[in-house]
């Protein structure tokens, strides 16, 4: 009798818990279902079809046709190469800059919080605004060229010259995202016990040696995080390229990124299937690189 009562109470408790659980989860399940899970399945479907959007929507199954086509598309390779260059330069630079700024701020300077607030400013500013400000600085008679001329250095047509346009975006993004990672490093630096540095100082290590042998190795997990998030973020470069080039990726495809190409194939050429195929290639690249990084750093951590 007692057992039954217990069972009864237990199961009733379970039903109410189930109800409560699903009540609390309902908005999340609906939104993630409709705007993440369903779109992923739909994207797989689209990528295997030729899609026509003329009033209604028509699908024609073409198997891996879209994927075969993108291998031969010259602009895909240009976009991939631009994006890869961008990642390869921006991620290491912003990571090192963030670390240097964090260590400098952490070395017992006065007004640490004020410096931090000031440095963080570009990170909270919209990418649209930052891009416009930099386009104004980069224009032929702009501030940057004035400065370069003043220093006796060559000036460039930053917005119009294919050789430097992407570099302009790189400089801007290093400048605007490094402070974000600086704050992450700064928080991690608080967790390194001061006694380690004191012991090292007693052993005669100078501050450079302390930085290389204590700070850098202990920050390794944070660096993994910063690099991973950095790679994911930089691979998705879009806003800046779009605004810089009015959405066409110019001059001469110099600022064409993978995401911009996806945008163009869908909203300029109306090729939903082809765009989805490119999106999957991008996702595959990002996920692969993330896994490689995990592996690479993970095996050394222990």
């Amino acid at each position: 009798m007692l057992e039954v009562k217990k069972w009864w109470r237990h199961s009733r408790w379970n039903i109410t818990e189930d109800l409560a659980g699903y009540f609390f989860m309902a908005p999340t399940i609906l939104v993630i279902g409709a705007f993440v899970v369903l779109p992923i399945i739909y994207a797989v479907f689209l990528s295997l079809h030729k899609v026509r959007l003329l009033g209604g929507i028509e699908y024609k199954f073409i198997g891996f046709g879209n994927f075969l086509r993108l291998v031969e598309d010259e602009r895909v390779w240009i976009a991939l190469s631009n994006t890869a260059q961008y990642v390869a330069i921006v991620v290491p630079t912003q990571t090192v800059l963030a670390l240097v700024l964090a260590v400098t701020l952490n070395s017992g300077v006065r007004g640490k919080n004020w410096w931090r607030i000031l440095y963080f400013l570009p990170t909270v500013t919209s990418s649209a605004v930052l891009t416009l400000i930099f386009m104004w600085i980069y224009n032929t008679n702009g501030l940057l060229n004035d400065l370069l001329a003043f220093l006796g250095l060559p000036t460039y047509n930053w917005l119009g010259d294919p050789a430097v346009a992407l570099k302009g975006i790189m400089i801007m993004n290093i400048w605007s995202t490094a402070p974000f990672y600086m704050v992450i490093y700064l928080a991690a630096l608080q967790d390194i016990p001061q006694t380690l540095y004191e012991a090292a100082a007693l052993d005669g290590a100078n501050s450079w040696q302390q930085f290389i042998y204590i700070t850098v190795p202990l920050l390794k997990p944070v660096t993994l995080f910063v690099v991973t998030v950095g790679v994911i973020g930089t691979f998705q470069l879009f806003d800046q390229s779009y605004i810089f080039s009015n959405g066409n990726g110019g001059p001469n495809n110099a600022t064409l990124t993978v995401v911009l190409l996806i945008y163009q194939s869908v909203f300029r050429n109306l090729q939903m299937g082809y765009g989805s195929a490119i999106a999957f290639v991008l996702a595959a690249i990002i996920i692969t690189i993330t896994l490689i990084q995990r592996r690479f750093f993970g095996s050394e951590k222990t």
């Binding site: 989860m25 369903l38 070395s107 300077v109 990418s127 649209a128 400000i133 691979f235 998705q236 999106a279």
Partner: protein, 265 residues
Amino acid sequence: MYVVLTLYAVITLIPFLWALSASFKPLSEIVSSEPNFLPKHFTLDNYKQLFIQEPLFFRWLFNSVIIAISVTILNLLFNSMAGYALARLHFTGKNFWFFLILAVLAVPAQVTLIPTFLILKAFGWLNSYQGMIVPCMVNATFIFMMRQFFVNFPKELEEAAQLDGLNTLGIFRHIVLPLAKPALAAQAVFVFMGSWNNFLLPVVILFDPEMFTLPLGLNTFKGQYISYWNYIMAASMVFTLPALAIYAFFNRYFIQGVTFTGGKG
């Protein structure tokens, strides 16, 4: 040390100050070859012209505010509900949903962009507030963050409240949410800024100028007034001020939020 710090502070500030100064200069002074930081002929005309030349500017501002505020409030509510359920409640299929949310974190938004466009089109939600709000009203990162927060939360208070006869919803409203304020504040500023600055979603689903948000409007404005940098900079400054004000008031929570996300990585 202070030399390095000051130098970098200058590098950080110059673009902003240069833009601010341009927004108060007449066009003649902007195109002149001599750069000067303080406007020789200080003028407010650019700001006046902005609202006269582009009557939709207020509309864009209004759209951005409505969307950002709705997205923020809904995110705070729904993310903490889901986070709380995943941390505290025992319901069938809980592990499955938790795994699904973690998996969703790994998928780049570009993959879902095209289908989301088509789904919103099928709903008739292109060019609408709900099209901008509904897909963004929960966020897997912050659900995960809230879950971590609630897992480390002392259980005793909730148990005491349960003995006092409060049901789960009551406990959530009266005990859990008020105590989660720091995590909610950090989340609020991030969600707000994310929505306020979002460019990819609006550029895809909004094409009626009446429905534009500010970043999109700003981009169109740039197209129309190309080389009128005085207007463009004035417009940029109008757009930046609300975000800066929020940052100035809540900068503590920004830092907390960054640290929180970073620490859990």
